[in-house]
């Protein structure tokens, strides 16, 4: 379990990183936290001839609130995002999901941008970003592109990023008032990739009508899955438990997960139905609780 030989670059600036990336082309791999890439290199599943280490690019390590969004630099460690007051206040779903990402030691090294660019369909961060309608910012030789999450993921470990582009920033819309979120996951062990995960967020009107509902699943196909039409069923309604069960069933019917060693396609459909139901119940309860506390603090 040793990698094949490669050239190593550690550019000090984004401009230099982009220029090295252009020169090396398809044969290069970009190293952020290395928690997925390095094992894959050791297994010789990937054999880059050049490794471009981004860890000197401190400018890509930040979390700020800007124009109604939580903006996160691609090189920000998962653990920093998990513990940031900005994330917890304005992107509670992301904060709730992050403890499910591997283990603490790995999150202190792993980056949010790395997880998104790696595009494992069972990973938590891509699923949450899809649910929340986040946008990804990429830079390449031809400038900057802003890509909505629902156009970003192509298939297993594959995104619309071009070989000469770097993911630099994630923009997560801040949660409006009277919002509740929930992240549920079933995995073989704590810290393993999800067999199925469900990320949901619901916003209520002051009268308890569902104003906005976001729902996405991980582990149920080649990319994270956004259940947009199913979530739409409760928008404009005062949601009831029966609706959640129905949404769970519909989602299960529409996804086409793969079977693997840890769970059959049927298993994943069953688990998806149950988790969607439970996650919606939890998020609506949380939204209602927040709504009540806003009323009482008026």
């Amino acid at each position: 379990m040793k990698p094949t030989a490669f050239d190593y670059f550690d550019p000090p600036t984004l401009e230099e990183a982009l220029s090295v990336l252009s020169e090396c082309g398809d044969e290069a791999k970009v190293l952020a936290g290395g928690q997925s890439l390095v094992p894959m290199m050791n297994f010789r599943l990937v054999r880059p001839t050049a490794l471009i280490d981004l860890n000197r690019l401190r400018s890509l390590d930040f979390i700020v609130e800007r124009e109604g969004s939580v903006v996160i630099g691609a090189l920000t460690r998962q653990h920093s995002v998990e513990t940031s007051a900005i994330t917890r206040t304005h992107a509670p779903l992301l904060a709730e999901a992050l403890p499910f990402v591997a283990h603490l030691a790995l999150r202190r090294r792993g980056t949010v941008g790395g997880s998104v660019a790696h595009a494992d369909p069972a990973a938590e961060i891509p699923t949450v970003l899809l649910a929340l309608g986040a946008t990804m910012v990429a830079q390449g030789p031809k400038g900057t592109r802003v890509i909505p999450a629902d156009q970003f993921f192509v298939s297993y470990f594959s995104t619309v990023l071009k070989a000469d582009e770097l993911l630099t920033e994630l923009r997560v819309p801040a949660a409006p008032p009277r919002t509740g979120s929930a992240f549920l996951e079933v995995s073989r062990r704590k810290g393993d990739l999800a067999l199925v995960s469900v990320a949901t967020e619901i916003t209520l009107t002051p009268r308890g009508v569902c104003e906005r509902a976001a729902l996405a699943l991980g582990g149920v196909g080649s990319t994270p899955f956004a259940a947009v039409e199913e979530a739409q069923l409760i928008v404009g309604q005062v949601p009831s438990p029966r609706m959640f069960q129905e949404i769970g069933k519909r989602v299960a019917a529409r996804i086409s997960p793969d079977s693997d060693l840890h769970g059959s396609a049927q298993y994943r459909k069953d688990a998806a139905a149950v988790l969607v139901d439970r996650a919606l119940q939890t998020s609506i309860a949380r939204a209602a609780a927040e709504s009540r506390s806003m009323e009482s603090s008026k």
Binding site: G191, D192, H262, G263, Y267, D270, A271
Partner: protein, 778 residues
């Protein structure tokens, strides 16, 4: 004078090993480096079964950094790796050669050794080996392998049935036919194994001038391995030295003689340079012994009030592609101990040991017993459901009674009769029932069902085997500075051997355990030894240490008595001194006594030197026993099983160091829980291992352990077979876990009438059972 000195037994002495292990100064094989050392890696078969058309090593030999590449033709005919346990004739064709000729037999079988300046270059060269194989159908199922017309793993052997074992007591067939109640099931335990966090590793160095070959990294049974290696190399045994290193877990799989144990020293001798091989995790999963995989067609006959009359079982054991050093010990022990703690008049078991195209197998903590305990205890619950009897009550009606001891089970282990040595088998059960609050659980269960939660309780009663003989060696000495040394033929696999042996020797020798040095695992310093395996260390090796230390005490007191001119009865040996009762001014230190034992000073008739050897012989085994009780929650929607609480009570005769025993039980439980819920070596139909990394072969972590683990050590039944009354404690924590957790899951799901027939209880498997039950109930 025949008093047993055991002043330090039963104390929670801190482990003397921990200082070096916790501060990172312990020396593992990977820490030993020698000048000019080379790295070896093994090229392994990517195919499960096929004829070798060509194995071309030429390109690999040309690779930069490569020193040598050795294939089967380079090694020549060096014979096969013998069975260490219960060897028997006629199996030669099933034993493994270091490198095979003619065929490949399993994925991971070594085919060539690459020696290079570093591992990176070696792995590059490995990709340049060209193997052409004419593929043959792969046998991946023990039952299919025994069907007429099945392809043969070893054609010259003529069959895939490597061995058939039979246990017979009474007339089980007739008793079963006449039994008022019969339950029959097919049960399966999945292939899984001991996965030490430190993989195997070897370092071999050959001193060309002195002709000595030194091996580091073989920790378990070094004297046996040395004999095998000397024979295969055709080198005098006294010129081969094995030096133990620290290990990151043994569990049965480490330290046996594997093909690499020949290839690496052979290469070091051939090259005249030190060669180190460190198994990587990918290799480990295909190269190191697998274990546990068995099918059982089992039937119990009972009276209508739940008294078991007969037990029959047809067992198919998947041995893998070769018979390795453990021989048939695993299936043998399953059948030997299948009746467990119950008094069963009629018993019949047949074990088919089948060869398949999978990694060869060996022992793993609780070998054979984890499997048999799962089978028997599941059947007890199946019978309880049939009889509408509480599972605890059914067990109470069947325990071997205390006055039946010693109790002849009627089975054999390696042809020795299985005779339980002592104890009240129900006592541990009663303790576990109390600790787990079993009697109030049904109310809790009903309440939780009302809240929509499914919880269940499961019992796993077991009898373990320990103290495997035939003997162990020890030598106790006082050096010229007055320090106590104890040599042992045991090796240390991480279980605190230095601490517990010090506790045993400290009593007779009147010194603090911390001042004793335990010397183990170096064949140059220890002339004889069997080694550490099968919960024998304390029982057999500890008894040898006790014997040596007690004899040395006699010698010390004899010399002091003559010097001080006082009768031995007036002497006290404590704090490193011999003192005279009532005469505090008269004393001798151990250092002074050591000088008195010098060759020119010692009296006629007494051997010079303060050094005494002992061999403790153990013709019979000691049988500890215990009960596991698990409380689990099952999520029927996702199939996820959580172990909420756990209790283990066991009688081990006497705990030398309760803290260490509790650590053993807890660690064993983690592994047993892994077997119950997570670990599975899955093969596809082509004989490819699908769970060959830690991403797919799932070990339990701290997060998967139960929220509460209660342990109770009983010492009501000291073994009559050794002076300290010891029984082994290394495996009890593992053995009952598959049974207890499976029974608890079945109990949690009892509203759905689900039967658990197979481990591990993955979310997928549990959910599938729930879905099928719900469909059937509609």
């Amino acid at each position: 004078m025949n008093k047993v000195h055991s002043e330090w037994l039963g104390l929670r002495v801190l482990r003397k090993e921990d200082q070096r292990l916790l501060t990172g100064s312990g020396k593992f094989v990977g820490d030993v480096t020698l000048p000019g050392m080379l790295t070896a890696i093994v090229y392994r078969s990517p195919y499960a079964h096929g004829r070798i058309v060509s194995l071309d090593l030429a390109r690999a030999r040309q690779h930069p950094g490569v020193v040598a590449v050795y294939g089967p033709e380079d090694i020549g005919s060096v014979g096969t790796i013998p069975m260490r346990m219960s060897p028997r004739d006629g199996l030669g064709e099933c034993l493994q050669r270091p490198l095979p000729t003619g065929k490949v037999h399993y994925v991971g079988e070594p085919l060539a050794l690459i020696v290079a300046c570093d591992r990176y270059r070696a792995e590059d060269a490995l990709e340049a080996i060209d193997l052409e194989v004419e593929s043959l159908p792969a046998l991946t199922d023990a039952r299919a392998a025994l069907q007429p017309g099945a392809p043969l793993v070893h054609e010259k052997f003529g069959t895939n049935l490597a061995e058939q074992l039979i246990m017979d007591k009474g007339d089980a067939a007739r008793a079963l036919a006449a039994a008022p109640v019969r339950v029959r099931e097919r049960l399966r335990i999945q292939r899984h194994t001991g996965v030490p966090l430190e993989t195997r590793g070897l370092l071999a160095a050959y001193d060309v001038a002195a002709r000595t070959l030194t091996m580091w990294g073989v920790t378990k049974v070094p004297h046996f391995n040395r004999s095998v290696l000397a024979r295969m190399l055709g080198h005098p045994e006294h010129l081969v030295r094995f030096v133990e290193t620290e290990v990151g877990g043994g569990f049965g799989v480490r330290g046996e003689f594997y093909p690499e144990d020949f290839l690496v020293p052979w290469a070091a001798m051939r090259l005249g340079r030190p060669v180190r091989w460190m198994e990587d995790r990918c290799e480990h999963f295909v190269a190191t012994n697998h274990s546990r995989e068995q099918w059982h067609d089992v039937e119990i006959g009972a009276t209508s009030d739940g008294r078991i009359i007969a037990l029959t079982d047809t067992i198919h054991a998947d041995m893998g592609a070769y018979i390795r050093t453990h021989g048939f010990v695993v299936p043998d022990r399953t059948a030997a101990l299948l009746p467990g703690p119950y008094d069963i008049e009629h018993y019949h078991a047949e074990v088919m040991c089948a060869l398949t195209n999978k990694t060869p197998t060996g022992t793993y903590r609780g070998p054979g017993r984890y499997e048999g305990t799962f089978v028997r205890e599941r059947m007890m619950d199946v019978l309880a459901v049939r009889l509408k009897l509480d599972p605890a009550e059914l067990r109470r009606r069947n325990f071997v009674s205390a006055d039946a001891m010693p109790y002849d089970v009627g089975s054999t282990a390696d042809t020795d009769p299985v005779i339980y040595d002592s104890g009240d088998l129900q006592s541990a059960f009663d303790a576990a029932i109390e600790m787990s609050e079993y009697d109030s659980f049904r109310r809790e269960q009903a309440n939780e069902r009302g809240n929509g939660r499914l919880i269940g309780i499961g019992i796993g009663c077991l009898v373990e085997k320990s103290g495997t003989g035939p003997w162990e060696y020890a030598r106790a000495e006082v050096d010229n500075s007055g320090h106590v040394l104890v040599f042992t033929g045991l090796t240390c696999l991480g279980q605190g051997l230095e601490t517990t042996l010090s506790q045993i020797a400290a009593g007779p020798l009147g010194v603090h355990p911390d001042t004793i040095t335990i010397i183990h695992g170096d064949t140059a310093r220890i002339p004889f030894g069997v080694g550490t395996c099968g919960s024998r260390g304390a029982v057999v090796g500890g008894s040898a240490v006790h014997q040596a230390a007690s004899s040395l005490r006699e010698k010390i007191l004899t010399l002091a008595s003559s010097q001080l001119e006082r009768p031995m009865d007036d002497l006290v040996l404590e704090s490193g001194q011999v003192k005279v009762r009532g005469a505090p001014e008269m004393s001798l230190t151990l250092r002074e006594i050591a000088l008195l034992a010098g060759p020119t000073r010692v009296a006629e008739g007494i051997a010079p030197g303060l050094s005494v050897e002992a061999f403790f012989k153990a013709p019979m085994r000691a049988y500890p026993y215990g009960t596991h009780i698990a409380v689990v929650e099952v999520d029927p929607g996702t199939g996820v099983v959580r172990v909420l609480r756990y209790a283990i009570a066991c009688d081990i005769g006497r705990a030398i160091n309760p803290m260490i025993v509790e650590g053993q039980l807890t660690g064993g439980l983690a592994q047993g829980l892994g077997g119950a819920l997570l670990e599975d070596l899955v093969y596809d139909g082509d004989g490819q291992l699908l769970t060959g990394t830690f991403a797919d072969y799932l070990l339990p972590s701290a997060s998967e352990m139960p929220g509460s683990v209660k342990l109770r050590l009983l010492e009501d039944a000291p073994s009559p077979l050794n002076p300290l009354g010891l029984k082994g404690a290394g495996e009890l924590g593992c053995t009952g876990a598959g049974a207890a957790i499976a029974n608890a899951v079945a109990d949690a799901l009892s509203p759905l009438e689900i039967n658990i027939g197979e481990l591990p209880l993955t979310p997928n498997r549990v959910r599938t059972l729930v879905r099928e039950a719900m469909a059937a109930n509609q």
